[in-house]
Structures are given as structure tokens and as C-alpha cells.
């Protein structure tokens, strides 16, 4: 099967939000056929490595087969969180977009 290197942006969409110093990033397959690839590719280790420098704690992953989505919790990512954070993105609103910067190998028919 021919594969192609592509941005996760082309396979998924995402939304992120905060809970204290933790950011949650929900990643949703644009097409149901892409979901198994997301599951296989977006391991917590891979996501932790991707967010190096932004996420200082552990990364947890939860699967939602019912809507073809993965939910990630990125701990210690907001410089204390909430009102304490000095960051422009104090609530992790743009972490979803940052996630979609990831480069992945995908079968051509999924693109």
C-alpha cells in the first residue's frame, strides 16, 4: 500500500481546553476510515514527544470508538494553569492546532 507523509491536520480535526494545569486535546478522524490509523499512530509516547517543551508532565490517552476520536490529557502544560499562568495561551486553546502540526505516514487513499 502506497503511503505518504502528511500533516495530521489532513486526517483529523481537534479541539482543546483546560482543567487546571492540564490541557485536554480531542482529536477526531475527518473520515471514519482514518480512525484506526490515528489509534495506531497517536500513542501517548508519540504525543508526549511531539509536545516536548510545551507539556512538562505525563500524557494520558482515552479512546472514543463511538465518535472516532481520541482524547489526550497533557499534564503540567499551562505554567500553573488558570489565573496563575503567564502564557498568552493560558487556557491551552491553541494546543489542538499544535497537535495537528504532527507529521504522520498515511495510506494515500485516506488523503
Amino acid at each position: 500500500m502506497a503511503t505518504k507523509r502528511t500533516l495530521l491536520l489532513n486526517l483529523a480535526h481537534a479541539r482543546s481546553g483546560d482543567k487546571g494545569d492540564t490541557v485536554n486535546v480531542g482529536v477526531i478522524a475527518r473520515r471514519p476510515e482514518a480512525y484506526p490509523l490515528l489509534k495506531a499512530t497517536l500513542t501517548p509516547e508519540r504525543v508526549k514527544a511531539h509536545f516536548e517543551g510545551l507539556c512538562k508532565g505525563k500524557v494520558e490517552r482515552f479512546e472514543m470508538d463511538n465518535i472516532g476520536a481520541l482524547n489526550f490529557l497533557l499534564h503540567e502544560s499551562l505554567g500553573g494553569g488558570g489565573t496563575k499562568s503567564l502564557q498568552t495561551d493560558a487556557q491551552g486553546k491553541t494546543f489542538a492546532a499544535a497537535m495537528l502540526r504532527m507529521e504522520v505516514e498515511a495510506p494515500e487513499e485516506l488523503l
Partner: protein, 454 residues
Amino acid sequence: MKSSIRIGAAQGFWGDRVDAPLDLARHGRCDYLMLDYLAEVTMSILQRQKLKDPSLGYAKDFPGVAAGLAPYLEKGLKVLTNAGGVNPEACAEAVAAALKRAGMAHVKVGVVTGDDILAHLDPLLASGESLKNMESGEPLTGVLDRVVSANVYFGAAPLVEALAQGAQVVVAGRVTDTALTLAPMVHEFGWSMEDYGLIAAGTVAGHIMECGAQASGGNFAAAWEEVPDMARIGYPVAEAYPDGTFVITKPEDLGGLVSLATVKEQILYELGDPRRYISPDCVIDFTTIRLDADGPNRVKVSGVVGGPPTETYKVSVAYRDGWKASGTLTYTWPDALKKARKAAEILEARFAHLGLQFEEVLFEHLGVNACHGPLAKVADESAVNEVVFRVAVRGQDKKSVDAFGYEIAPLILDGPPSVTGFAGGRPKASEIIAYWPALLGKKSVAPAVRIVEA
């Protein structure tokens, strides 16, 4: 019993579009409107307003919003809100007064109180409740003298009680955002609070609705350019049925978009473990949610499974935790980034020279990588046309944070060239009101409900 009801989400936070409630009433064919005003930080802001003036401490917009809805209240519209903040009584009285002035004195205003436990912290701690921080595990006693507000998150029960007492406008303080959508369903369909499948379904509806237009085309990552008329975006409407199924939709003649993708994005918003979504009313398994397209701008939600709630309420405590300030300067080509880095170096040297110590100092390059950090790669630094250099500091000593504010503007005359964009005076220290999430046994506290006289 009605065969279905329509609930509109007319406000996603305090600061949301002020004409949204009237737009929804006018175009949404709603039986109910729910207005969520409270985020974690909002309660502490409101508490400080109340400390300055005991008649304040609630979302001041709401009484006017309620009065503006008079023609629709006349036709039977009901409204639920947590606009009461830390002073729901004063809010409800202001609403009743505003309605009276609008010739609507016959509209019953209900108020939910009892969530404010600030005055009871000492006896609660003495009785063995630790109110320890859910994240760090520390006991509350360590910050007790700095606590500004403390509120329990109530569920739908007191709102349902207010509706049962005939309230047409229900004002609460810290109830969960989701309860504002769930309560009308429980009231209209006669659901038992122990029928956890139904309670879970109504709570999922509340979760999808609680951020307003974020479910109907706002902040939509999948295809934002395809969202019609964001200037008049239609806020979401839940069309709910007695069996717990519901349809997320929006007013047909306003902008926005409801699709499987918009609803999925909102389902994931601020979600933790999807198998254990904990509300005061139930624990929900979000992996059981079934979504089906149901025509244009309609998504049907069914299959929600839930179980009994936990023995505790979540408590939101706010406490004073130091000071912070930030300032910006704009550097342009040539070498915009190099100049910004030099400015950071100069500031650090100034802090050392002046003996200013902070818990944290942060330098950001807005327009380059302030949000995505190392993930935002700069291929060619010389091609950066301009950068907003932002510096922020945090510390326990207010004087040091204020002294930092004197160090930004001088860089215009004393630092690297082609710099501009300093306006608005010296940055001033603002107090940090930090958030302390805790749990409290449900037996330790009880809500109270009454109808307010205008």
C-alpha cells in the same frame, strides 16, 4: 406532558454576545433558555466585587437581559441561569425589579442559594472535611487565610424545585453548567433523578450546550471557512424528548452550522476520562454516546449510559496567590527576533541589577511562536517582518511586580532599534486569584430554593 421541548443555549460565558439571548428567543422557537455565565475564575472576580459593594457579586448584564426578554416571557418562555454568581439573592431581586419596571411583575423569579460555603469553612474543616486540593493533595488549611470564595457545584435538583414552585426565571449561583439544560427536561418530562440513563442523557445535552456557539460553528477546527454568517451565528438549541434522546440544532434563519463534526468537537471540549464524566447528578460513560445526522443542521444524540453519582460535591475555592504583570513592545525587520532576544537579556540584567526576584519570568514572541513554542519552527529568521515581544512576571511581592512595570518603556530609548507599540501606560501588578478544586461530602451542605418578591 409535552412530546418535546426546545432549550436554547443563549450564553456560553460572561462576556459572550449580549444580543444572543434575544436572537434565540426571536428565532429559536425555544421553550427554555439557559444562560451560563460562570467559569472557574469568574466566581473570584465576582467575590471581589461583592467585597467592595455587598449589593454586587453577580453577572450585572443579566437583569437587563431578562427584562429584554419580556415579550417572550409573556408567551411562556422560561429562563435558567447561574448569573447569580456569589450573590444570587441580589441578582434575583435585581431581575424581579427589572421585570417589574418592564411591566412584568407577574413573572415569578426563583432563586437557588446554599452553594456559598465561605462562611462555613472553619466548621467544615473542624468536622473532618479536609477540602484538600484535588490536583496537589494539599490540605486547605495551608491557604485558608487567603481564601476569597468557596462554592459547591450543585446539580439540577434545586433548579427543578424552583421550576416546580412556578418560577419562570430561575437564578442560581454555582450550579453546574450542564444542570441548566438538564433541569427543564426533568421538570417537563417528570424524570426521576434516580433514572440515571435519562439524567445522563440530559447532562450530555448540557455539556454540548454549555459553551454556546462552540456547538454550532464557533471555534470550529474542521471547516471554519464553511460556517455561514458568523456575525449572526445561531446559538445551539436542544430539542429534547421524554425518552432521553435529543437533537442538537440551531435557529434556521440565523448563521452557524450544526453537523456531526461541530458536535463531536464540543463533546471533547474540556473532557477528562470519557468513561467517567462526573456530575453531581450522575456519572456518565461518554463512549456510549451515539450521534446520527438528522437533516440539515440537526444531529440526533442517543444511547447515553450513566450510573449513580458520587457521594461528594465538587467545590470551587478561590484564594489569593501573588501578583503578575505583563507588557509588550513591537520590533520590526531587520533582525526583529534578534532584537527581541536582546531586549529579554537587557531586562534580565535590569532585574538582577535592581534586585527584583520573581517566581516566574516569561518571554514570548507573538506572531512567531508564543502559542506553539518549539512546534512553530522559523525557517528563516531574517524573513520575520515584525514580532511582538511580550514579557510577563509573577511573584508574591507586589512591589517587585510593580517595579517590573517601570522597565518596559525605557527599552524604547535605551535598547535595540526599530521598536514601537508601547501604549497604555506602565503595566501594573494585578492580584492572582488562584483556583483550588476540592470535594465535599454531600451531607455537609444543602441547597435552598425560594420565590423572590419584586
